[in-house]
């Protein structure tokens, strides 16, 4: 068996609005569209995934929050209906996904070996969170690639940010080790919005794009500054500024997916490709790709 590898990592944010706007058959509510530039950005990500032909997609989601350790989906097939508790008007999605339990167990084992509390979620009735589902649907609507779903341990909020980020980086290291030993071709998905300042009122028609723009100029400027650094491959500088970005842009990357992915990819100096940026109820969302291997 040849050594497994991480083919690419994506920043792949999860506003359920994007699924809603696309009107896939799995989602109950119907829309008139909306957020097209972001959805076109995801079209490019879909094309990349198609080219890369990964064996597995690994996704870290801030909407599966766990207090005791880092958890991994550990049931081979999970299905059901996921209703977003925040936007139930937009997202009521019939999901049906296959989990790469072997790789999930390997990631869990490596995380434990690196001193993290980590566990497997074995309850077949578990309802997968809307962050995981939205990200997976937006990159691969065919749902034909097995996944590893990883929770967002609450450490960046419960401990200091530095301690939390350090845990996420260790989780990334564990993920890389498990992938390498698995022999599999893997794609990483950091399910994170950047600037998270948002409007507090929803338009009558949620997809009315005349109402959509950055909620915060400060948040927008932070996002542009960080995206530019990522596009230049200056990832160490990104991570140096990370705490300030989190603080000043109220960035959702605080929940850990981004540092997890960047650490798993060993802080790549490869320039990231920006597939697109757009706002959703005012929050900043970038679809970005780091291509590490063919």
């Amino acid at each position: 068996m040849s050594q497994g590898k991480i083919l690419a990592g994506f920043v792949a944010p999860h506003p359920p609005h994007l699924v809603y706007a696309e009107n896939p058959p799995q989602n109950e509510p119907r829309s008139e569209g909306g957020w097209e530039p972001l959805r076109w950005a995801y079209e490019k990500a879909r094309k990349s995934i198609e080219e890369l032909k990964p064996d597995v997609l690994l996704v870290h989601s801030p909407h599966w929050i766990t207090t005791v350790g880092h958890h991994f989906l550990g049931v081979e097939r999970l299905s059901g209906k996921s209703v977003d508790p925040i936007f139930p008007n937009l997202f009521r999605f019939a999901f049906d996904l296959n989990v790469d339990v072997d790789l999930a167990e390997a990631c869990c084992g490596e995380a434990q070996a690196l001193g993290l509390t980590a566990k497997m979620m074995r309850n077949p009735n578990f309802r997968v969170d809307y962050g995981t589902i939205t990200t997976l649907h937006m990159v691969r609507p065919q749902w034909d690639i097995p996944v590893v779903g990883i929770s967002a341990n609450n450490s960046p909020y419960y401990l200091t940010l530095d301690e939390g980020v350090e845990e996420m980086e260790r989780l990334g290291e564990a993920t890389r080790r498990a992938i390498e030993k698995s022999g599999k071709r893997a794609v990483l998905l950091a399910s994170n919005t950047f600037s998270h300042y948002h409007f507090h009122e929803e338009p009558e028609i949620p997809e009315d794009m005349s109402r959509e723009h950055p909620q915060s100029y400060k948040g927008y400027k932070w996002d542009m500054r960080m995206i530019e650094l990522m596009r230049r491959g200056e990832i160490r500088e990104v991570m140096r500024l990370f705490p300030e970005w989190v603080e000043e842009a109220f960035a959702e990357v605080k929940s850990g997916a981004f540092p997890w992915m960047i650490s798993a990819m060993e802080y790549p100096t490869t320039p990231a490709e920006l597939h697109g940026y757009g706002t959703v109820i005012g929050t900043g969302n970038a679809v970005m790709e780091w291509r590490l291997a063919a």
């Binding site: 508790p85 074995r122 309850n123 507090h200 009122e201 929803e202 109820i281």
Partner: protein, 270 residues
Amino acid sequence: MPVVSAFLMPGNPLPFLRQDNPPWAPLATAAKAAGEALRASRPDVLLIYSTQWFAVLDELWQARPHSTGVHVDENWYDYGDLQMDLRADVSLAQACVAGANAAGHRSKAVDYEGFPIDSGTIVANAFLNPGGTIPTVVAANNLYHDFATTEALGRVAAEQADLQGKRAAVIAVGGLSAGYFDKDIDIAEDRIVDEQSDAANRALLAAMEQGGADRLRAGLDDFAAAAKTDMGMKHLAWLLGGVGDFKNAHVHGYGSTYGAGAAVVEFKLA
């Protein structure tokens, strides 16, 4: 008098899911005793606020006539599934939405099959209202609302119940000190995570027992200074908004839920 009883109930599902675990058993017993007291007060409706149901845009009010199905807690999935069995008092929920909007707190009713009712609401309702026979009005914890706004929402709910001539029980679902064990523990050895949090919990419970909304408010200030709190203790804001004032309280039980503080408290109304 529209409000006939009021209770603080733990939001963490562990005492419900593992009633035989020694550190949690007293909380489960206490919760059942609270259920008896609640039923003795013959409420027509339960006005519930749970810190675990998050909203970020409008204030949300549950208006699904009957929420059923299985709920699996995202943390405590190993300990068993929860059965949703929650009936809404739809006309009162709609009145609360209208009343809250009129008071300037943008509100919306939610009525969706499969909506994930939070673990706290499910277990509090199961302890207090087995079989879900008494209808409820459940309001979300809007993360951007402060204590005062939440109190105003509790007041709206009680006023609307009164306008409909209903006897209401006000239920605050949430914890006390919010520090928890972030590593695996032997659950048979569960305890409050540190002495300072334990002392803060006991002082807050003493303030409730002594009674009076003002003493409780002062107690909450001290509590916030001494411990991490569950969501700014906004569940008690809801309760205070609903009852206005109270004479004293009876602590049916106090204990830990994976290091965090939890209590079952019955408030005696003025």
